[in-house]
Subunit: 199 residues, 2 copies
DNA sequence: CGACGCCTTGATAAATGTCAAACGTCGTGG
DNA sequence: CCACGACGTTTGACATTTATCAAGGCGTCG
């Protein structure tokens, strides 16, 4: 999937909540978050998107969340109408788009599931997700700060911090510095969590 | 979209978590819930589906949640592979499928957003959702019991019950009997909630 | 009509949020 | 190059919300 590459500085808006849905986006490099800010100031992160991830694929006329660059990022942009028109004549592309959308459903549902668990389970699930998506060996280089993690997990930064401290104390992880996490015990990360999907 | 209509009795399983994804489903009549049961017995409802809603549209090889009939229900069933093959040659169908999937993303994200709010906000949001989807005038005939509502909202039945009692006391709603809710003050249902999407 | 299961209500406990302050780190300017 | 300052993080004490445990009332369905 092609499109024009555009660079975004750290913490800049890619599109805003309420803006018309014109484009579909694909991360080339960097990291992107989708954000919703409630009227009373509470902030909720819908998801993180890393290299090769597609975001902004929405059905309504308006974006229901805004998107921001977590770090300096490059993003490919293509008009949604163009993409849909291309897909009308290209069954393979249409299927790929459908798969992308269905994948996003799965992510959102996993996210929703996670939000009803305990603080420690949420943090563990977050670390597992980051392990699956951006780890290099046992090392996870987080692009985002505690506030983003907290708003993604529906917790406060204090609770996230305390939980990470607990996990460090239990030698499940090791944190040489704030945004670097070394996974020491992947088995412990799985503890007390969802029944695995596999039978 | 066609397919074979099948009847399911109340509380029977339509498909199970971990089973291969073979079919896509459309509710003809009744109500369906998707469910995930955690290893420790906690139960989480991913969503409710009513007449004309499509469910079971997943990307993996296995269902990540199971689906059950909330009440006696009739459901149309079509093979996913058949549907995808048809869509490859029919741009309009492909777009419709994509829209369905994107709609589901929006629902799951709204659900996730709701789960970080207070108990009263969650119950209010649930009532608004039911108002949008199955109300007749000011009357909402809930097909599900408190336990389903609680597991959908990530609360206990006790908390749901207490909150409904509060809302009744405040004359926001009126409950002549357990599963019948009359909306008395829609404005109050909107209070203290998400910034509306519209600008 | 009766019994089971659901719903409601109450008392108590546990988890997380809030408020406040100290610590560390990183970037900047002298 | 070093010192300062701002900001993010961690830690602590306390408040608040919701879960848990328990019991009674009531509706619903056989």
């Amino acid at each position: 999937m092609l499109g024009i590459p555009i660079k975004f500085d750290i913490d800049t808006e890619i599109y805003g909540e309420g803006e018309p849905v014109e484009f579909v986006y694909k991360v080339v490099s960097g990291a992107v978050r989708t954000v919703k800010v409630l009227s009373d100031g509470r902030r909720k992160i819908g998801g993180f998107y890393f290299a090769r991830d597609i975001f902004g694929l929405e059905d309504g006329d308006e974006h229901s969340l805004s998107a921001e660059a977590v770090t300096a990022s490059t993003v490919r942009v293509i008009k949604r109408r163009t993409l849909v028109r291309l897909a009308a004549d290209d069954g393979e592309l249409a299927e790929e788009l459908l798969m992308t959308a269905m994948h996003e459903v799965a992510r959102a549902q996993r996210h929703a599931l996670m939000l009803v668990m305990t603080a420690q389970e949420r943090v563990k699930d977050f670390l597992r997700e980051m392990d699956e998506r951006i780890s290099v060996g046992d090392l996870v280089q987080l692009p985002m700060w505690r506030r983003d993690i907290a708003d993604y997990l529906g917790l406060t930064v204090e609770t996230v911090s305390r939980t990470i401290t607990e996990l460090s104390a239990a030698s499940t992880i090791h944190c040489p510095c704030n945004r670097t996490i070394m996974l020491r015990d992947r088995a412990a990360l799985q503890q007390g969590t969802v029944a695995t999907v596999s039978i």
